[in-house]
Structures are given as structure tokens and as C-alpha cells.
């Protein structure tokens, strides 16, 4: 093999596009040619550097909105799948798309379904060994753990000083979609905080409701929907939510 041939084919070698026979030929040439060996090394290094540098761009939110607006809108009564579509997209989008946003319109009947889903997820989590995927009381361990697993990394805040101990995080499934759950404890009571993104960036004040004996505190802020689920009393769950929201505000401002 000549250098001229090798200088083209070694790229296919680096990219894993050569069949075994040609790969052996190129490798043999590289082994006997310092010039081509140096090139191959450089190209590999450049490829690696490309893989590590952040070379991608994130589509502006406004562009996403413009495209959404130009497409026919979903039917008046969206299925519950439509409500959770954002989660589905997340798994397909690369980790770079951390704040990718999809229009999710929550209607009353969908809210009802989702509440029932998060209570089911809460119940599942209480079975032995199901509570956490990452066990840590350190928010700086739990938060990075979510990176790349979800399209939106849920905020992880240590509320130990406020009486709610962070014990870990978990990927959960609501309507067969991946969703982030941050797990806290107060005494022996588990609180699952489910976090999902929403197109609506308006703040929605908290609503407390009860389902199957569990309390749910639901609120929205800065493009995220929150459902805190626990067997704690409504007053204590409210306290948790308020402390979480206060800490979030402090984080943003601080």
C-alpha cells in the first residue's frame, strides 16, 4: 500500500469503517511508515479532542417555539401520552440538550392521571431496594448523577438543615417515560420529589391534594413541574415544598 492510499484509508480505519482485510493492510502500512503513523496518531488525537470539546450548539428556545407554532396543534383533548411527551423526547436527545423544551399542556384530567402515576411511582419506590439509584446525602453527588440520563437535570437541594434529609436520586418511570425523582426523608417518612420539564415557564403556586392516602404537593417554577409525594401530613409536606422553593430562590439569586 502506498502512502497516498493509506492517507485516505487511515481515516476509514480511525472511523471504524473498514472491513477486517483492509484494516489489516492499513495497519500494516502504518506499522512500517513513520509518516503515516504520525498522521494517524494526530488524527486520532484530533478526533478525541473533538469528542471532548463542547462543539455543539443548543437550539434557542425561540426557534423551538417558532417551529412548534408552525405545526398543527395537538387535538383539544390530549392523551396522557401527550402530556408526558417531553420525557420521551428526552431519552433520545443527547445530554447536551439539557434544557430542551417541548410543549406540554397540562389539563385537569391529565393532571388527575399524572397524580395517580406519581403516587404509583412513590409506592413502587417504597418496595425494598427500589428507593434510590444513587445513594448520597451530598447534593453534589446526586445532581451530576442525573446528567445524561434525563433531558432535564432536576434541581437537587440539600435541606438537611431544614429538617429534610436528602438521601438520593432515582430514575423513575411515569407512563413508561423516564423522569427524575429526588428522594428526601423526614424521620421515617419518605418524600419523592418528581421533576419534569414544561413549556410553561410561569410560576404556578402550590396545590396540595390527597390520593390513596398520600399527600401530593404540586407546583411549577421556571419551566419545571414538581410533584412532592409523601405519607407526611399536609402541613409537613407544605413545609418541605416551601423550604425547597425558598432554597431554589436563594440559589438562583445567590
Amino acid at each position: 500500500m502506498t502512502c497516498e492510499e493509506a492517507e485516505v484509508l487511515l481515516h476509514a480505519l480511525i472511523d471504524g469503517e473498514l472491513d477486517a482485510g483492509h484494516a489489516r493492510e492499513v495497519e500494516a502500512h502504518i506499522a512500517s511508515c513513520a509518516h503515516c503513523a504520525a498522521l494517524a496518531r494526530d488524527y486520532r488525537e484530533i478526533s478525541q479532542a473533538m469528542g471532548q470539546a463542547d462543539l455543539r450548539y443548543k437550539a434557542p428556545l425561540e426557534l423551538r417555539r417558532r417551529i412548534e407554532k408552525a405545526l398543527p396543534q395537538p387535538q383539544a383533548a390530549p392523551s396522557r401520552r401527550a402530556v408526558l411527551r417531553g420525557f420521551a423526547l428526552g431519552s433520545a436527545v443527547s445530554a447536551m440538550a439539557a434544557t430542551g423544551l417541548v410543549a406540554i399542556v397540562l389539563r385537569n384530567d391529565d393532571e388527575q392521571r399524572i397524580r395517580s402515576e406519581v403516587v404509583s411511582a412513590h409506592l413502587r419506590s417504597l418496595q425494598a431496594g427500589h428507593l434510590t439509584d444513587v445513594v448520597s446525602t451530598d447534593q453534589h453527588t446526586v445532581k451530576p448523577w442525573f446528567n445524561g440520563k434525563l433531558d432535564v437535570s432536576p434541581p437537587v437541594i440539600d435541606l438537611t438543615a431544614q429538617g429534610f434529609t436528602l438521601i438520593g436520586g432515582r430514575l423513575d418511570y411515569v407512563d413508561a417515560r423516564a423522569i427524575g425523582a429526588v428522594v428526601y426523608k423526614r424521620r421515617q417518612h419518605v418524600i419523592n420529589l418528581f421533576v419534569a420539564q414544561t413549556a410553561n415557564t410561569e410560576r404556578q403556586p402550590a396545590k396540595i391534594s390527597t390520593l390513596q392516602g398520600f399527600n401530593i404537593r404540586r407546583w411549577s417554577d421556571r419551566g419545571l413541574n414538581y410533584w412532592a409525594v409523601s405519607d407526611l401530613g399536609a402541613d409537613e409536606l407544605s413545609e418541605f415544598g416551601e423550604k425547597f422553593e425558598t432554597a431554589m430562590r436563594a440559589n438562583k439569586e445567590g
Binding site: D15, A59, L63, R64, P72, P74, A97
Partner: protein
């Protein structure tokens, strides 16, 4: 909104096909919410990928946004002709045609008229690019901004091929489909692109000393 993109020339055999020849039935299917839902699920996850490609192809944020929007509108219009399985290359082929229309629009500006250069450049022997000795030091690692700048400085069509391979992680076959060229051309363009980038890399390294 589309504006100048609307007049983008089509090319036979490419996914964006014949614009503006809608029958009544086709028109009805355009408004089908179920179809829109399927399209959203299939295509919107690649919005960042499409925007990234447009940024590298057009080297301008506002033009990239317009191009991506037009790409999605065309893709939606021709979604019925999408046969899968790989949505990303299909979208990219449409996006690439939209971007080529933008090149044509810009053709009056000499700086960006780089499309002319390549065919002859493609035949330049590669080894002229690398006069330095093999016993050189390791390549230096640059930050993302520097690498972006080096990539953006590559001439077309090498930049396109390079970005599709290194940043979008497409196979040679997929790149060939997107760019509507044979795989052999993809290989020679990629070889040329990497040789040019390596030279630029070494020059940057020299300068940073």
C-alpha cells in the same frame, strides 16, 4: 418566518421534493393532528443536532435559525415520504439543501463563495499539507471555542463532511446520502478536511507558543 427560504431551489431525488404541489387530500393530511404528533415525536428530538449543523454550515446564528425552521417545515410537509429508519440523516439532507439555497443567496458576497474552490482542492495531493517531521510533540488540546473556530474556518464541502462525521457522528453511508455523493467522495473529503484541520491545528499551536 421562511421568507427568502421559500424560494429555495429543489433537487430531484432529495427529500424535500416538489414544494407547492398539494392535492386536496395532501392538504388535509397536513392538518392531521395525529400526523403532527408523529412528526413532533420523530423530528423534534433532533432540533439541537439540526441547529448545530446549520451553525457550522452557515456560520451565522440568525441564518441558522431560519434554515432550521425552514427545514422542519419542509420535513413536515414531506413527512409522508419519510420511510425511516434514520430520521437524523433525512432531516440533515433537507437542511443541507436549505443551506445551499442560502449559499446561493449569499453568492454576491465573495468571502463566503467557497463552494467553487473544492473540486480542484480535492485533487491536491494530501502529503503537501504535512511538511513537518513525524517526531513532533503531541497535539495540544484546545478549548471548545478554539476548536469551533478551526472547524468553522474549513472550506466547504470539507467542513460539512467533517462536521457530519466528527460532531454528528454519522456513518460514511449516511454522510453520502445527506450530501448526495458517493461514499468514495465522502472518504476523500474527510481525508482532506482532517488534513486541513490538522494543519490549522498545528498553526494555532505554533501561534499560541
Amino acid at each position: 418566518m421562511p421568507g427568502r427560504w421559500a424560494a429555495a431551489p429543489g433537487r430531484a431525488g432529495t427529500p424535500h421534493g416538489n414544494a407547492g404541489q398539494e392535492t386536496m387530500a395532501a392538504k388535509a393530511s397536513q392538518d392531521d393532528p395525529e400526523r403532527a404528533r408523529r412528526f413532533r415525536e420523530a423530528a423534534l428530538p433532533y432540533l439541537d443536532d439540526a441547529y448545530t449543523l446549520a451553525r457550522y454550515l452557515l456560520r451565522d446564528a440568525a441564518d441558522a435559525e431560519d434554515a432550521v425552521q425552514e427545514c422542519y417545515l419542509r420535513a413536515y410537509k414531506h413527512f409522508d415520504s419519510y420511510r425511516g429508519p434514520a430520521m437524523k440523516p433525512w432531516l440533515f439532507a433537507i437542511l443541507r439543501n436549505v443551506c445551499r439555497a442560502e449559499y446561493a443567496r449569499r453568492a454576491t458576497a465573495p468571502v463566503t463563495a467557497t463552494e467553487e474552490l473544492p473540486e480542484s482542492a480535492e485533487q491536491t495531493p494530501l502529503w503537501h499539507e504535512t511538511p513537518d517531521t513525524p517526531e513532533r510533540q503531541m497535539l495540544r488540546r484546545f478549548d471548545g471555542d478554539t476548536v469551533r473556530k478551526l472547524v468553522a474556518a474549513l472550506a466547504e464541502p470539507f467542513r460539512e463532511t467533517f462536521v457530519l462525521r466528527e460532531i454528528q457522528d454519522l456513518s460514511y453511508r449516511e454522510i453520502a446520502d445527506v450530501a448526495a455523493v458517493p461514499v468514495g467522495t465522502v472518504m476523500s473529503r474527510l481525508a482532506r478536511a482532517r488534513a486541513m484541520l490538522r494543519s490549522a491545528w498545528l498553526a494555532e499551536q505554533e501561534q499560541a507558543k
